[in-house]
Symmetry: C2
């Protein structure tokens, strides 16, 4: 494999809420996502999910709290926990989770993205 | 859990080659490490290992090539592959790998660090 430059990879796409795979470690994938506006409430029944903010600011709403994340901050959403990502302005993030995880988890709708799309 | 600010966590220790755990995702751990100088040649027989540079520059030497990484760049070392991290000046990195992985892999020596040390 070659080294991966996060900012260069982020220049390769512009869609929101459409995760792009940039690397695999064992059966886990590293995905870059540009987010803006409201996502949907969902959970991932079988896995934790890690968010790392590369650029910008985002929020993750939970049933009992809201976590605000800015560049250089991360959060691990525990498996099975309902959450809703949100960004007022475009925010660039990296998500780490097992291969095969669908972005909208237990829900399916307009924001459900194609899986395993590499850039 | 609370959100994790990588730079604030990095202020909490100064030793080199001494990984500190900051988060877990399923059975994987996120570890911050400050590195400087030469590490030892080693491999991890059972797992890939991900390096992400937070600040500074590092190299990972392999038997057939050397990869240079700077801030915002990452590399996944495949399992079983001999490698030797190196940093001319102090470099701050995050390593992601399964819980229980020892920093020196198949070798043990002066640079073998205590495992599962949280900050």
């Amino acid at each position: 494999m070659s080294k991966i430059n996060l900012r260069k990879k982020l220049e390769k796409f512009s869609e929101h809420w459409s995760p792009k795979v940039i690397a695999e470690m064992n059966d886990y994938q590293f995905k870059l996502v540009k987010i803006k506006g409201d996502f949907v409430w969902h959970n991932h029944a079988d896995t934790d999910e890690t968010f790392i903010v590369i650029e910008g600011e985002m929020k993750i709403e939970f049933e009992d709290k809201t976590v605000e994340l800015t560049e250089g901050e991360m959060y691990v959403v525990p498996k099975g926990v309902e959450h809703k990502p949100y960004a007022e302005k475009e925010c660039k993030i990296m998500i780490i989770e097992p291969r095969g995880v669908v972005n909208t988890g237990n829900t399916e709708g307009d924001l459900t993205a194609s899986n395993d799309v590499w850039i």
